[in-house]
């Protein structure tokens, strides 16, 4: 009887730390990130639609969007085990080492340089930017909830 009790205690002693220990490989879902990324995507795409008009009229709005994007990017860097999402933000925001072009800031830089952009290009670019945000959202949305 005593031997059986000892065995049961051993089982429990093994089981409890095993159950509570955490060995995650990727960050868990963050609702603030998901909502803010969705909002930023919508605002960016709506603003891009105005690129047939003169950039100077929208310069402040472009700055505000890019500041929000940088804040969100910085937030991702502060999260634990979030390297994959950070790398996605890097692809969206930072210049490519070879082409020296970036996706989101690159579009607005082109608008600034040319003053106005052509509708066909804006339509193509909106799809690209929207799809890029969707990749970030797809991964965040699939992360395990706490």
């Amino acid at each position: 009887m005593q031997k059986t009790l000892s065995a049961a205690c051993l089982v429990c002693l093994f089981a409890i730390p095993f159950f509570v220990s955490s060995c995650k490989t990727i960050s868990v879902y963050d609702d603030t990130t998901f909502v803010n990324t969705s909002t930023l995507k919508a605002q960016a795409v709506v603003l891009m639609d105005h690129a047939t008009e003169n950039y100077s009229q929208y310069a402040d709005k472009v700055d505000a969007i890019l500041i929000d994007a940088q804040k969100l990017y910085a937030m991702q860097k502060a999260r634990e085990k979030n390297q994959v999402t950070i790398a996605q933000w890097q692809k969206l925001m930072a210049p490519d080492p070879v082409t020296k072009q970036s996706v989101l800031p690159g579009f607005f830089a082109l608008w600034k340089k040319k003053k106005t952009l052509q509708q066909d290009f804006i339509d193509d670019a909106k799809t690209q930017v929207s799809d890029a945000f969707d990749e970030i959202l797809k991964l965040e949305g699939a992360k395990l909830k706490n």
Binding site: C12, D124, L139, A142
Partner: protein, 111 residues
Amino acid sequence: MPAFDDVFNTIKSQVTDLAKTTVKDYAAQAASDANDFLESTKDKLETWSGQLVSGKIDQDEFAWLLNSQQALGQMKVLTQVGLAQIQIDSFTNGVKKIVLDGLLSLAGKLL
């Protein structure tokens, strides 16, 4: 000890089933996503080249589109990497639950 053998055989079988389901579902989805991206890249390149030739977009705009498609491809790969990590975490959680349930049932049998 028969009780140990029963519990560990059950754990082994459940973990094997969990692994098979996890890998099968993930691999099928990843292959489908990769295929869709390659098809859409081909369509986009044809469209953008046509727009460049007809003057609807210029060289700078064409270059931005090419760069964005390259970035999008890399982001899709990263999404797959992240989804694979999520599968690993989900699998680990599943194994933990199976093992814990098994050990608790073993403790119940021993007491």
